[in-house]
C-alpha cells in the first residue's frame, strides 16, 4: 500500500511552506486539490448567480400571459442557457469538482489527487465553456433548450448553437478527466489503515458518480459531435429529408442526460450522508445500504432514459420496459432517504444552518421523488410530459435536492476550507428565505402543468396568469435569499469566528488536519483507528470509567 505515498514523489511546484494560500493562487494553474476545489466552487457559484438572473428574467416575463418583457427568441436563449448553466456549470462542477476535489483526498488520507495536473486541466476547461455560452448571446443565443433537439437546433441560431455544443463538449471532457482521477485516487490512494467499509460515504458516492460519468458522457459527446456536423458540415445524421432520424439524437442525448441527474444527485447524497451523522451525533443508519444503493442507482440509472421519450418516437414495448425500470430506481433512492431519517432518531440534533439545509433537502426531495414516480409511468407521463408539472418536479429535485445539499455542504465545510465559521443567524435567515422561496415558486407549478400549461413558453393561456404570478413572486423571494448568504460568505471569510480544526466534532479524516489544511494536508499521514461515523460509541464504552465527552 505504498500508493499513499505517491504524491510525495511527484515533484510539486509549490512554494516552500506557506501557511495559507494567497488570493492570486486561485487564478493560476495550481495543482493542489484544495485550491482546485475552491476554484470549482467559486466559479460554479458565479455561474449560479448568472443562471439565476436569467431565471428571474424568465419569471418576470411569465408574470403576465403575454410576451411583453423579453423578446420570444431572447426568452428561449435565456431558457436554454439557464438550464445549461445550472446543470453543467453549477450543480455538476460544484458537487463533483468542488466538493469532490476538496474532500476526497482529505477523507481518504491522501496528500493530493492521483493526477494533480490533469485535475487542474479539468478545472480550466470550465471557464472557457462558460464564456462560450455567454458569448453565444452575441449571435442570438442558442434557442433549442438544454436538450437541443434537432431539427430545431439545426435550424435556429446556428452559430450560437455550435458554440453551445462546443461548450458542452468542453465540460464533458472535463468531467471525463475528473472521473478517471477520482476512480484512481479512491482506489489507489486511501491510507492503508482504512478498510473499504470505513471509506466515508461521500467517497462511495464519488466512486459511483465517476463510474457513471465515464460510461455515459462519451455517448453525449458523440451525439453532439454528429449534431455539430449536421449544422456545419452538411451531414444528415438527424435530417429526416436526407435519410437521417431525429429520434436517434434523443436516444443518444438521454442516454447521457438521464444519468446526468444522478451525476448531480449522487454526490449531494454523499454530502448528506456526511453532514447528517455529524450534526445528529449518531452513526449513519445503514452504512452498507447507503453505499450499495449508490452503486445500484448508478446501474439501474443507465436503463431508464426512454422515460423522457414516452410521447416521442418510442415503440410501445419500450414504453413499458422503461416504465418499470424507472420505477425501480425509486427503491434504492427511498432506502437512502429512510436511512437518513432513521439517523435522526435518538440523536442529539444540532439545528445549525448545515443541518437545516440537510433536513430541508430531505423534505423537498421526498416530494420531487414522488412526483418523479408519477412521471415514470407512461400513462401519466403522456399527459404531463413537457408541461409545468415536469418543471415543478425537476426543480424540486434540482433545487430542493441539489442546491439545498450544496448549501448544507458549504455551511458544513466552510470552517475547514477557510478556518472560520459562518454566521449562524445569517445562515438561518438564508435557510428560511430559501425554503419559502423554493416552495412558493415551484409548488404551484404542479397544478399549472396538470391543468394544461406547456413548458418552455414565453406566452401562455391567460387563465394561468394568477398562479404564474405566485410563482414569480416566489422567484423574487429566492433571488433575495442569496443576499444574506453572500454577505455571510464575504464577511466571515475575512472576519468570522476562528473555527479550530474540528468545530463540529467530526470523525472523518478531513477533521484531523488543520483548518485550512496544510499544503500537503498532513505533516504525518493519519492512521484510521475508528469508523467514520462512530458517534456515541466511545461514550458507551467509556461511560463506565468516567464521564467522557469528545466534543470540543
Amino acid at each position: 500500500m505504498a500508493q499513499a505515498q505517491l504524491p510525495l514523489d511527484t515533484p510539486l511546484s509549490l512554494p516552500e511552506h506557506p501557511k495559507a494560500w494567497k488570493w492570486y493562487d486561485y487564478f493560476t494553474f495550481n495543482v493542489d486539490h484544495k485550491v482546485i476545489g475552491i476554484q470549482y466552487l467559486v466559479t460554479a457559484f458565479i455561474f449560479y448567480l448568472i443562471g439565476g438572473l436569467m431565471a428571474v428574467a424568465m419569471r418576470t416575463e411569465l408574470a403576465t400571459a403575454d410576451s411583453d418583457f423579453l423578446d420570444p427568441n431572447l426568452y428561449n436563449a435565456f431558457l436554454t442557457n439557464h438550464g445549461t448553466i445550472m446543470i453543467f456549470l453549477w450543480v455538476v462542477p460544484a458537487a463533483i469538482g468542488g466538493f469532490g476535489n476538496y474532500l476526497v483526498p482529505l477523507m481518504i488520507g491522501a496528500r493530493d489527487m492521483a493526477f494533480p495536473r490533469l485535475n487542474a486541466l479539468a478545472f480550466w476547461l470550465n471557464p472557457p465553456a462558460g464564456a462560450l455560452l455567454l458569448a453565444s448571446f452575441l449571435f442570438g443565443g442558442a434557442q433549442a433548450g438544454w436538450t437541443s433537439y434537432p431539427p430545431l437546433s439545426t435550424m435556429t441560431a446556428t452559430t450560437a448553437q455550435s458554440m453551445w455544443i462546443l461548450a458542452i463538449i468542453l465540460v464533458g471532457t472535463s468531467s471525463i478527466l475528473g472521473s478517471v482521477n477520482f476512480i484512481v485516487t479512491i482506489w489507489k490512494m486511501k491510507v492503508p489503515s482504512m478498510r473499504w467499509n470505513q471509506l466515508p460515504l461521500f467517497c462511495w458516492a464519488m466512486l459511483a458518480t465517476s463510474l457513471l460519468a465515464l460510461v455515459s458522457t462519451p455517448v453525449l459527446a458523440a451525439g453532439l459531435i454528429l449534431l455539430l456536423f449536421d449544422i456545419n458540415f452538411g451531414t444528415s445524421f438527424y435530417k429526416p429529408d436526407a435519410g437521417g432520424n431525429v429520434v436517434i439524437y434523443q436516444h443518444l442525448f438521454w442516454f447521457y442526460s438521464h444519468p446526468a441527474v444522478y451525476l448531480m444527485i449522487l454526490p449531494i447524497f454523499g454530502i448528506m450522508s456526511e453532514v447528517i451523522p455529524v450534526h445528529a451525533r449518531k452513526p449513519i443508519f445503514g452504512y452498507q445500504a447507503i453505499a450499495y444503493s449508490s452503486l445500484a442507482i448508478c446501474c439501474v440509472g443507465l436503463f431508464v432514459w426512454v422515460h423522457h421519450m414516452f410521447t416521442s418516437g418510442t415503440p410501445p414495448w419500450m414504453r413499458m420496459f422503461f416504465t418499470i425500470s424507472t420505477l425501480i430506481v425509486a427503491v434504492p433512492t427511498g432506502v437512502k432517504i429512510f436511512s437518513w431519517v432513521a439517523t435522526l432518531w435518538g440523536g442529539k440534533i444540532r439545528l445549525n444552518s448545515a443541518m437545516l439545509f440537510a433536513i430541508g433537502l430531505m423534505s423537498m426531495f421526498v416530494l420531487g421523488g414522488l412526483s418523479g414516480v408519477t412521471l415514470g409511468t407512461a400513462p401519466v407521463d403522456i399527459h404531463v410530459h413537457d408541461t409545468y408539472y415536469v418543471v415543478a418536479h425537476f426543480h424540486y429535485v434540482l433545487f430542493g435536492g441539489s442546491v439545498f445539499g450544496l448549501y448544507a455542504g458549504i455551511y458544513h465545510w466552510f470552517p475547514k476550507m477557510t478556518g472560520r465559521l459562518l454566521d449562524e443567524r445569517l445562515g438561518i435567515l438564508h435557510f428560511v428565505l430559501t425554503l419559502i422561496g423554493t416552495n412558493l415558486t415551484f409548488l404551484p407549478m404542479h397544478e399549472l402543468g396538470l391543468k394544461g400549461m406547456p413548458r418552455r413558453v414565453a406566452m401562455y393561456d391567460p387563465q394561468f396568469e394568477p398562479v404564474n404570478l405566485i410563482c414569480t413572486i416566489g422567484a423574487f423571494v429566492l433571488a433575495f435569499s442569496i443576499i444574506p448568504f453572500l454577505i455571510n460568505i464575504i464577511w466571515s471569510w475575512n472576519k468570522g469566528k476562528i473555527a479550530g480544526d474540528n468545530p463540529w466534532g467530526g470523525l472523518t479524516l478531513e477533521w484531523t488536519t488543520s483548518s485550512p489544511p496544510l499544503i500537503e494536508n498532513w505533516e504525518v499521514l493519519p492512521v484510521v483507528t475508528k469508523g467514520p461515523y462512530d458517534y456515541g460509541i466511545e461514550r458507551r464504552q467509556e461511560s463506565t470509567d468516567e464521564d467522557h465527552d469528545e466534543e470540543e
Binding site: 410576451s67 423578446d71 420570444p72 428561449n76 434557442q143 433549442a144 433548450g145 431539427p151 430545431l152 435556429t156 429526416p240 429529408d241 437521417g244 431525429v246 449518531k282 452513526p283 443508519f285 445503514g286 445500504a289 410521447t311 416521442s312 415503440p315 410501445p316 413499458m320 416504465t323 418499470i324 420505477l327 427503491v331 427511498g334 432506502v335 429512510f338 431519517v341 435522526l344 432518531w345 435518538g346 440523536g347 442529539k348 440534533i349 421526498v366 414522488l370 414516480v373 408519477t374 409511468t377 400513462p379 401519466v380 403522456i382 413537457d386 396538470l450 394544461g452 406547456p454 413548458r455 418552455r456 413558453v457 414565453a458 406566452m459 401562455y460 456515541g536 461514550r539 458507551r540 466534543e551
Partner: protein
C-alpha cells in the same frame, strides 16, 4: 405502560394519514375536465398514485418533523446520541414495501396503457383503408421544392407505428373518422382526406372513433389536448398517430407541447367536439372548400408579430384555400 400509548398513537396516526391521503387522492381538483375515453383511465391511475404519494409524504415528513423536535439538542446539552447503526429487519422492510408498491404501480400502468390503446398503434385494419388514399394526396405535393414537403411525404407514406392506437374494444376495426394533422411553425393544419376539408381547427363528432395521423413539416411539435389526457409528438420523418373517442361535446384547447421556436407558446388552436348531427352539418357546409378560420389571424400574427417569412404564410394559405392536390 410505555408500550400501549405508543402503539395507540401509531394506530391513530396511521388512520389519520390514511384518511387524509384518500381525501386528497379524490378531491385534489388538479386535473381538467375529462373529455375522452382515455381520460378517466389516466385520472384514476393518477388518483391512486396521489393517494399513495400523500401517505408516504406524510409519513416521511411527519417522521422528520417529529424527530427534529423530539431529538433536538437542548441548551447546555452535551454528548452524542444513541449509537444505533442499523437494523436489518427494518431495512428489509423499507426496501420491500417500496419495491412492492412500484411493482404494483408498474403492472397497473401497463394495464392502463393497454386499455388506452398504447400497445396497438398501427393497428392493421385501418391502414388498408386509409394509407393509400393519403399517400396519393401527398405524392401529388412532392414536386414542391421545399424540403419540408419531403418529410411530410415520408411521414404519410408509411403507416404510423408509434403513438396511441386502437383501444381494445375497437381493435382490428377501421376508425370512423381519419384526420391528417400537420404541425408547422406555428400552426396545426387539419386535413380530412375523405371530404377534402382543410382547417385550422379540429372538428370531430362525439363518441366516434377518431384517428389522427400526425406529421411535422419543419421541426418537432407535440399535439396535446389536456382534456383528452393525450399527447403525441409530431416528428419530421416519423409518422405517429393518436386514436381516441371524445366523450363530451365542447371546445377544448389544442396545445403544442414541444419547443418549436420563438412562438412555441402561441401555437394554440382548439378542438371542437360536435354532436354527430352538428358534425354532419359542419362537414356538409365545408365539403370541398377549405375553411381555415385560423388562417387570417395566422397571417396577421405571423407576419406582424412572429417574424415568419411571407413565403411560409403563402404556403400555408395555398394549402388552406386550395386543398386539391393538382394545384399544389
Amino acid at each position: 405502560m410505555e408500550q400501549i400509548p405508543a402503539s395507540i398513537w401509531t394506530l391513530t396516526a396511521g388512520v389519520v394519514v390514511t384518511l387524509i391521503s384518500f381525501w386528497v387522492g379524490h378531491h385534489h381538483g388538479l386535473l381538467p375536465e375529462q373529455a375522452s375515453e382515455q381520460a378517466p383511465l389516466v385520472d384514476n391511475f393518477f388518483d391512486i398514485m396521489l393517494t399513495i404519494g400523500t401517505a408516504l409524504f406524510l409519513v416521511v415528513q411527519g417522521a422528520i418533523i417529529l424527530f427534529v423536535i423530539r431529538y433536538r439538542r437542548r441548551a447546555g446539552e452535551e454528548g452524542d446520541g444513541l449509537p444505533v447503526e442499523g437494523n436489518l429487519p427494518l431495512e428489509a422492510f423499507w426496501t420491500a414495501i417500496p419495491a412492492l408498491i412500484v411493482i404494483f404501480l408498474g403492472i397497473y400502468s401497463v394495464d392502463i396503457f393497454q386499455r388506452m390503446g398504447g400497445l396497438n398503434p398501427g393497428d392493421h385494419a385501418m391502414h388498408s383503408m386509409h394509407a393509400p388514399k393519403s399517400g396519393m394526396a401527398v405524392v401529388a405535393q412532392a414536386p414542391s421544392k421545399t424540403t419540408s414537403d419531403a418529410t411530410a411525404l415520408l411521414a404519410a407514406a408509411q403507416p404510423p407505428e408509434i403513438g396511441i392506437g386502437a383501444s381494445p374494444d375497437v381493435q382490428g376495426k377501421a376508425p370512423d373518422l381519419v384526420v391528417d394533422v400537420a404541425g408547422m411553425q406555428y400552426a396545426w393544419i387539419f386535413t380530412y382526406p375523405d371530404s377534402g376539408i382543410v382547417s385550422g381547427e379540429l372538428h370531430i363528432p362525439v363518441g366516434k372513433d377518431v384517428q389522427l395521423n400526425l406529421s411535422a413539416r419543419d421541426v418537432i411539435h407535440s399535439f396535446w389536448v389536456p382534456q383528452f389526457r393525450l399527447k403525441q409528438d409530431a416528428i419530421p420523418g416519423v409518422p405517429t398517430e393518436l386514436r381516441f373517442k371524445a366523450t363530451k361535446v365542447g371546445t377544448y384547447p389544442v396545445v403544442c407541447a414541444e419547443l418549436c421556436g420563438g412562438y412555441h407558446g402561441a401555437m394554440r388552436t382548439q378542438v371542437i367536439v360536435h354532436t354527430p348531427e352538428d358534425f354532419e352539418t359542419w362537414r356538409r357546409q365545408n365539403q370541398g372548400i377549405a375553411t381555415a378560420p385560423v388562417i387570417p389571424s395566422l397571417r396577421d400574427r405571423h407576419i406582424h408579430e412572429m417574424g415568419v417569412t411571407a413565403e411560409l404564410v403563402a404556403q400555408v394559405e395555398a394549402i388552406a384555400h386550395d386543398p386539391s392536390p393538382e394545384k399544389l
